[in-house]
Amino acid sequence: MYKAVIGLEVHCELNTKTKMFSSSINEYTKDPNTNISVIDLAFPGILPLPNKEAVKKSLKLAMALNCETPSIVLFDRKNYYYADLPKGYQITQMTCPFGKNGYLEIEIDGTIKKYGIHQLHLEEDTANMEHLETESLLDYNRAGVPLVEIITDPCFNEENEVITFLENLRNIIKYCDISEASSDKGQLRVDVNISMMKDTDTVLGTRAEIKGINSFNNVKEIITYEIKRQTEILEKGEKVIQETRRWVDDKKITVSMREKVDAIDYKYYVEPNIPVVPLSKEYKESIKEEIPVLPLEREKKYISLGVLPKDAKTLVRNKEVSDFYEEALLLEVDPKDASNWITTRILGYVNNNNISFSDIYMTPLMLANMLKMISSKSISTQQAKEVCALCLEEKKTPEEIVKEKGMEQISDPESIKEIVNKVLNENPEQVNIYKNGKTNIIGFLVGQVLKASEGKANPALVSKILNEEINNR
């Protein structure tokens, strides 16, 4: 029986305003060769200047992933020749990466598992290539975009574990505001290393590497396919070849691209054009302080506040939703009530209308005010559902809607008492019928009070006060 051993290399483009070593715009656009400078195109005499924000964001991510971080900024030069790399080398980090020996904790099936992060480094992305029948087209907009590469330990055994890890990693990247991390825009790309071994084996099997996968769905399909392919080879008594393979999506297979990938000699050396910059303890501390409370910690907090575990997961899945909830909590709402309204009504509206959560009109304060109206019995829960829907659809505050619709319930006992006595005074005959033992006439009187209050009086209170007042007569 063979088990898979899987390691990942995750590439993530940073959301800085400018590129890694030039001050040209770092922005996704479909118009080719528009966001480029002479540095990105490697014109003679150019010198790279590292982007401070990219350094900061990479260190922040390294810290969020519990990595050891260095005390200097140092880049290396990786030499290789390919059309997507105008300089003939890529500026990257090997000697002194921004993160080493980190980990990411993830909850899988109710237990917390720790996955090792071997290394995290900062580099520049290459140009984008489109391969046609006989030629390849180069768009240099992507050349020089800051790119973080996260290399995990070979610590995964199955595809679901990998997908959960990737989803959690993407969430942390978003929480830390490192990247938009959109697979569609190629901002998050994954290389998968996979080999098979027997439980009794002491060394890892020969691995295949599948590069540049830009959807989590494909990652899953590729792992499933490779586990099957490699197991079949081994069961026939043959050997798996060490190679780079490519996913052919329409055929749902991987095909060989290049053998002996590890043998390529990139002639790494320290990048001589970028002098070393020291990183002070204070600077690193200030970056650490900017890391927000991360999803797993928030999830645990919400559960401790009485939120259902599945709802807590829903709340932390999107930082905007979680931030909205956190803000509502500061307004002293009931944690369970607020969670219910967000996960059902508000997210329901967002999903049905296919809009972004950040586009909704309702604010945490509006939600808190609406919940207060329910708890003070100013409006009923049924009415609140209408208020919530109208707030989201018509972009009006709950107060405005309640006023416009005349929904406000009268729950003040003195006001109700006043209406009750007015109705009793106007209906002496019915009061006499009640006094003579036909107590079911009370229903008619409740109806008269509600009518007199234009339906706003709290029915339960009306019934209680009516009984008291009629018996006092």
């Binding site: 040209s24 200047l49 070393v276």
Partner: protein
């Protein structure tokens, strides 16, 4: 002297091809290089020195602020390309 077989492996790993004449020339060049390095390693106390990345100690704290201020026009960017298609630089295809 460095074996040709070793040089062949290096060439393969660096992804280029050489002919017999070039190997022989390279072998001789490496021989001179090794002799020079040998001379350096004979300097007394050399083992106490760290490898050098920069020629002089440099105290630098400059990292560029993340502000956009340079851009080439598409026309300028593509001016030197020998072939342009769909506003992209066209190069021979080298992958299958």
């Amino acid at each position: 002297m460095l074996e040709v077989k070793k040089l062949e492996t290096y060439a393969e790993n660096l992804e280029f091809k050489m002919n017999a004449e070039e190997y022989s020339k390279l072998q001789k060049e490496f021989d001179i290089l090794f002799k020079q390095v040998d001379l350096i390693s004979q300097i007394e106390g050399i083992e106490n020195y760290e490898p050098l990345d920069f020629p002089f100690p440099l105290k630098n704290s400059y990292l560029r602020e993340d502000i956009a201020n340079e851009k080439l026009t598409k026309e300028d960017a593509l001016k030197n390309a020998s072939e342009v298609k769909n506003n992209c630089v066209s190069v021979p295809k080298v992958v299958e």
